[in-house]
Point group: C2
Chain length 331, copies 2
Amino acid sequence: MKKIPKIAVFGGGSWATAIVKMLCENLHQVGWYMRNQNSIDYIKENAHNPNYLSSAEFDVSKLYLSSDINELVRYADVLIFAIPSAFVKAELDKITEDFSSKIVFSAIKGIVPETGLIVGEHFNKMHQIPFENIGVITGPCHAEEVAMERLSYLTIACTDVKKARLLSKCLASNYIKTKTSDDIIGSEYAAMLKNIYAIAAGIAHGLGYGDNFQSVLMSNSIREMKRFIKKIHKMKRNINNSAYLGDLLVTGYSVFSRNRMFGNMIGKGYTVKSAQMEMSMIAEGYYATKSAYLLNEKNKAKTPIIDAVYAVLYEHKNPKKIFKKLTELLD
Amino acid sequence: MKKIPKIAVFGGGSWATAIVKMLCENLHQVGWYMRNQNSIDYIKENAHNPNYLSSAEFDVSKLYLSSDINELVRYADVLIFAIPSAFVKAELDKITEDFSSKIVFSAIKGIVPETGLIVGEHFNKMHQIPFENIGVITGPCHAEEVAMERLSYLTIACTDVKKARLLSKCLASNYIKTKTSDDIIGSEYAAMLKNIYAIAAGIAHGLGYGDNFQSVLMSNSIREMKRFIKKIHKMKRNINNSAYLGDLLVTGYSVFSRNRMFGNMIGKGYTVKSAQMEMSMIAEGYYATKSAYLLNEKNKAKTPIIDAVYAVLYEHKNPKKIFKKLTELLD
């Protein structure tokens, strides 16, 4: 691999925009795929994304923008995907280039709904990327604070730590600190599960539970997350590291989290459908809940919180009753 | 011990008031000491504490109120102390009755400044209470939410678990869930340390750090707390239980926490003196910082956050510089 790799980011949302911003601090050129040509034209003219993180200004001369996904797959050595999990399969299906020899990092928090796989597994199974070429970028990190250049910490996970280290360097700056990890599976599942716990926090808030209960819920969530992940991939990991606990907290305690907001509406009495329509997007945690629940039917970790959220979202059980029962199972 | 013990609460603040309220759900009579006779007269007439948690209404016929501490020490089998740690020694010094055979629970979060001891040790060393008769009541629990009868979880710790169980029963109600623990030392130190981390969270907020950093700070705080407590009393404990992690979160994420508020003012540029004057009270964490720092000079756990708060509060170092250095030590 060359010393400075060619990197392209795939996605036009706030997290993709934040990652492009971070890379621009270090690289002379950053590839950026977004499917909407109008947004590309806008960025070229106005130096910021019209729809997301519009306060982040770009040096347009550094951006290699294209709405042709194959053009940027060809261009880059390292592909960073930051597309919402619900659309990732449709986007990946557009790729006709063979990219099985490229390095692929996922900044996607969730599960590919069509295959029920976490994104790393999806790349491996569906696109023949070997696991040592697959990595994950996780927070705790609200994209909005990256735009404001507020100090944030990222964890870059890859079983081949050299590749994690390479990307770490490309992302680090005076407002981004990075660390590497070899726990790609744990990091991916943590990033996915935290969205379910954020929905739970939102439901609890919507039902009128207070801060005392929220702290108990988060304390139980991290223990549940540990049990869940351990069943999938047992290894020595400190679940209180920023990539797991930090990521849970930044989402669970954020009033801006879409997942928490979605849960909050459910707690306040919206149906799942009407909450989704009201938000005009589907919270990642909605899909994650189903996948996690089904996966755990085999693994049988004790997961009362995931079970409660599943019962509310997919079995249309009464949130008030389900959460009343849940409170008996927490401690 | 009789089946229903006589219980008295010592203290007139919000946490004492909340505990009296909880006990009144289960007992026919609750002793309540507060030094201010005017407050007692007010409560008798108006059925609520004039100064704290005034929305909590009492059935006055259940309250055995007195401003004579010895009267209530004589009365009760179980003494619950909920006096701010800064005043606890002065109050205890008033006791002329021998209470070495009584059961003593501490709901005090901190260290007795004059002796540098956690409250349990202070009772043991200064008042000859055997350790098996000493217990601790910990949250996560804002008193304000008890007044509103919002579901809260308490942990009651005592080396003699039977005594913990007894008090658990007296405190539990439809809005209070209790669990018992035998980790009295860990619980006390956790309750004390969390105030230091809340000050750190406040300083960071005051300096302009955002939510991404706060989550990293909390993730590092719980790991630091674990290391600190392990040096003092090594035993099998899950630091992610509500009594430790939950208590840290409810304080660290609360905008109402006096410790966080105090830190926030320091971060915004107030001197320690002026912040204390402005708040017209001294945050518990101020004393805790010194005690924890000095104690750890011997124990040598890695405690960058406590060290940073100590440098700011006691060595009057520049918070901006100290926290900039701290960010290098977190991950």
